[in-house]
C-alpha cells in the first residue's frame, strides 16, 4: 500500500506526462508555430510599419499601449487553439478509450490538459511582451521599459489564465471540438465584449464582473485610465476597470472555471 505522499507524487508524475503529451500534440499540429509566429510577427508590424512609412510615437508608453492593444487578440487565438479541444477531443475522437482506461486518476489527466493548454498560451504572451520590450529598448532605450510595462505583463498573464479557463470550460461541457473552439473564440472576441458594451452604454452600469471588461487593464495601465485602487467609477458610458478589482475577477474566473471544468470532465464518461 502506498503512502499518501507517494500517491500524490505519482499523480503529479501522471499530470506531467499529460502536459508533455499535450505539448507534443500542439507542436505536431503546428499550433505552437502559428502562435509563436503571431507572437513575434504582430509586434514586428508595429515596429516595421512606422519605421518605413511613418514615425514612432513620442513616448515609450504610447508605443507600448498601441502595440499591446493586440495582445488580447493573440491570447484569444492561442487560448482557443490550445484549450479548445483539450477535453472534448478525447470524447469526440474516442481517443479517451485508450487514455482513460489507463491506471491514472482522470483528474490528473484533466489537470495536465489544463496546464498543457495554459503553458503555451502564457509562453506566447511572454514572447509578445519580450518582442515588444526589445522594440522599446531599440527605439527609446532601456528607460522606455517602465513599471507599467511589467504591470501590463502581469495583467496579461492573469487574463490569459482566465481566458484559457473559460475556453477549457467550454471544452469540458461541449460535444464537438469545433463548437468548443469557436464558442471560446467568439465569447472572448465578440459575445462578452458586446454584453459589456450594452451594459456600459445602454444600461449605464459598470460591467466589472465581465471578464473581457477587465482585459482593458492590459493597456489601461499606460494611459492612466485606471486610477489604481480608485475603485469603479467614471461617467456613465466611460467606465474603466479598477486594477485590484479586475485582477480579482480574473483570478475568480480562472479558479472557478478551472475547478468546474475538472469536476465536469471527471463526471463525463465515455458512453
Amino acid at each position: 500500500m502506498k503512502s499518501i505522499k507517494e500517491d500524490i507524487l505519482e499523480d503529479m508524475k501522471n499530470t506531467c506526462l499529460t502536459v508533455s503529451f499535450e505539448l507534443k500534440k500542439h507542436f505536431r499540429m503546428k499550433r505552437m508555430v502559428i502562435s509563436f509566429a503571431l507572437a513575434i510577427g504582430l509586434p514586428l508590424i508595429f515596429y516595421i510599419v512606422p519605421r518605413i512609412w511613418a514615425s514612432f510615437p513620442e513616448t515609450a508608453e504610447e508605443f507600448a499601449n498601441l502595440n499591446l492593444s493586440f495582445v488580447n487578440l493573440l491570447i484569444i487565438i492561442s487560448g482557443s487553439l490550445f484549450a479548445g479541444d483539450a477535453v472534448v477531443g478525447e470524447f469526440e475522437e474516442k481517443t479517451g478509450l485508450l487514455l482513460f482506461s489507463t491506471p491514472q486518476r482522470h483528474t490528473t489527466i484533466f489537470i495536465g490538459k489544463y496546464i498543457g493548454a495554459l503553458l503555451p498560451t502564457l509562453t506566447v504572451v511572454t514572447i509578445y511582451y519580450l518582442t515588444t520590450s526589445l522594440e522599446i529598448i531599440g527605439i527609446y532605450g532601456t528607460e522606455g521599459i517602465s513599471l507599467e510595462f511589467f504591470k501590463s505583463f502581469f495583467i496579461a498573464l492573469v487574463y490569459t489564465s482566465s481566458a484559457v479557463s473559460l475556453i477549457f470550460f467550454f471544452s469540458s461541457i461541449l460535444k464537438r471540438k469545433i463548437t468548443s473552439t469557436l464558442l471560446g473564440f467568439f465569447s472572448l472576441m465578440m459575445i462578452l465584449p458586446i454584453v459589456s458594451s450594452v451594459l456600459q452604454f445602454l444600461v449605464e452600469v459598470e460591467p466589472w464582473y465581465i471578464l473581457t471588461y477587465t482585459e482593458g487593464l492590459i493597456t489601461g495601465v499606460f494611459v492612466g485610465a485606471t486610477p489604481i485602487g480608485g475603485g469603479p467609477g467614471g461617467q456613465p458610458g466611460q467606465f474603466s476597470p479598477d486594477f485590484y478589482q479586475g485582477i480579482t475577477i480574473m483570478v475568480v474566473y480562472t479558479v472557478v472555471l478551472f475547478f468546474l471544468s475538472v469536476f465536469i470532465s471527471n463526471r463525463r464518461r465515455m458512453e
Binding site: K94, T95, L97, S101, P103, E271
Partner: protein, 319 residues
C-alpha cells in the same frame, strides 16, 4: 476473497436514464489464466460491462473488481496490470506509433530500455515495424486497430480486457489476433474477451458468458457446450409457402423438437434434443404429414451460435 479470482463483478447494474438498463444484475468471476468470452448480440451490454471494468463509466449499482480492487474507486491500483482495448478507439493521428507507445509506456512506469525493447517486439507482433516513425493519420483502419491491440499488450499485462478485438480486421488479421490470444493462454494471462462473433470465441476461449438484453443468461465452458451441442441437431427447413403461426405450432408439437425459430417467412431452424439420425428422418416425415410442402431439408452440425440461439429462445419463452 479467492486469490485466483482476477476479475469479479457483483450485481452490476448500469442504467442510462430511467428507461434503459444496459447491464442488469450481472455477476461473474474469472480466474487466473482463464480465457473467457463475453457473448451477446449488439446492444446486449457487453461493451458497457467492459467500460465499467476499465473505469470508463461507473455502474449504477454493484461492483467491478480486478485483483480484488474496486475498479471505479481505485482505478490506479486496479488497472495497473490490465491491458485493454475498448470498442474502436481513436489513435492520435498526429503522432507516430513510437510516440504513442512511449507515452503509454511511461504511464505504466516502464523503464526507457523496456519501452525501447517492447516497441520493437510489439510493432513486430502487430506487423507495424516498418511504420514505427510514420504518422498514424496515414494508417488504414486495420493498421490503427492493430496498433490499438499493440498498445493493450505493450506493458505485458497479466490481465487483458478486449472488446470486439477483431472488429475491422481482414481475415489474415483475425487469424493473427486469434493466434496472439492463444499465445496468452500459454503465458497464464487472464483474458476477458467480448465479441458478437461466436465462432471466433469458440476458437480461443476456455469458457463463455452469454449476455442477452443486459442479463447474463448462461456461463459454461466451451468444452461442455460442445458436449451439449453434440446432443443437439440443427435442421434448417425451407417451405414452398409462407408459414403461418398455426404451421409453426404444428412443427413445435412434433416430439424430440426442442426449439423452432423462424429464419424468414418460409424458412425455419429446428433444434432437436437428441442426436439419433432416425429422428431426423422422423421429423421430416411428420412435417410432410402436417401438410407442409418442404422444398429443402438440411441437417446441420450445431455450434456455439445454435447454443446461444436456443438460450435466447428459452429466455424469450420464460418472459
Amino acid at each position: 476473497m479467492d486469490d485466483d479470482c482476477i476479475i469479479r463483478t457483483e450485481n452490476l447494474v448500469k442504467k442510462f436514464g430511467e428507461d434503459v438498463t444496459a447491464v442488469d444484475n450481472v455477476s461473474f468471476e474469472i480466474e487466473r489464466g482463464e480465457v473467457v468470452g463475453y457473448l451477446g448480440p449488439n446492444g446486449a451490454g457487453k461493451t458497457t460491462t467492459i467500460k465499467i471494468l476499465t473505469n470508463l463509466i461507473e455502474p449504477t449499482s454493484g461492483r467491478a473488481c480486478i485483483n480484488g480492487i474496486d475498479v471505479n474507486r481505485y482505478p490506479k491500483e486496479a488497472l495497473k496490470d490490465v491491458g485493454s482495448l475498448i470498442g474502436v478507439p481513436g489513435v492520435y493521428g498526429y503522432l507516430t506509433p513510437d510516440e504513442i507507445l512511449t507515452y503509454f509506456g511511461k504511464v505504466y512506469r516502464m523503464s526507457k530500455e523496456k519501452i525501447e525493447r517492447r516497441i520493437e517486439d510489439v510493432l513486430e507482433l502487430v506487423n507495424l515495424s516498418d511504420w514505427r516513425y510514420s504518422k498514424i493519420e496515414s494508417f488504414s483502419t486495420g493498421m490503427e486497430r492493430r496498433l490499438a491491440i499493440g498498445k493493450s499488450i505493450f506493458h505485458e499485462p497479466s490481465i487483458l480486457i478486449l472488446d470486439e478485438p477483431v472488429l475491422g480486421l481482414d481475415p489474415e488479421g483475425i487469424r493473427e489476433i486469434r493466434e496472439l490470444i492463444k499465445s496468452f493462454q500459454k503465458k497464464d494471462v487472464t483474458v476477458f474477451l467480448s465479441s458478437h462473433l461466436l465462432d471466433e470465441v469458440s476458437k480461443v476461449c476456455d469458457s463463455v458468458i452469454f449476455l442477452y438484453d443486459g442479463e447474463m443468461i448462461e456461463r459454461d465452458s466451451v468444452e461442455r457446450i460442445d458436449q451439449i451441442m453434440k446432443q443437439y441437431r440443427v435442421i434448417e427447413v425451407e417451405f414452398l409457402d409462407n408459414l403461418t403461426e398455426s404451421d409453426l405450432q404444428k412443427v413445435r408439437k412434433i416430439p424430440v423438437i426442442d426449439e423452432v425459430t423462424k429464419i424468414n417467412q418460409n424458412k425455419i431452424r429446428i433444434i432437436k434434443n437428441e442426436g439419433n439420425p432416425a429422428s431426423t428422418a422422423e421429423i421430416l416425415k411428420k412435417v410432410i404429414d402436417e401438410g407442409l410442402d418442404v422444398i429443402s431439408y438440411s441437417p446441420k452440425k450445431s455450434d456455439l451460435e445454435d447454443f446461444y440461439v436456443s438460450l435466447v429462445g428459452k429466455k424469450g419463452d420464460a418472459r
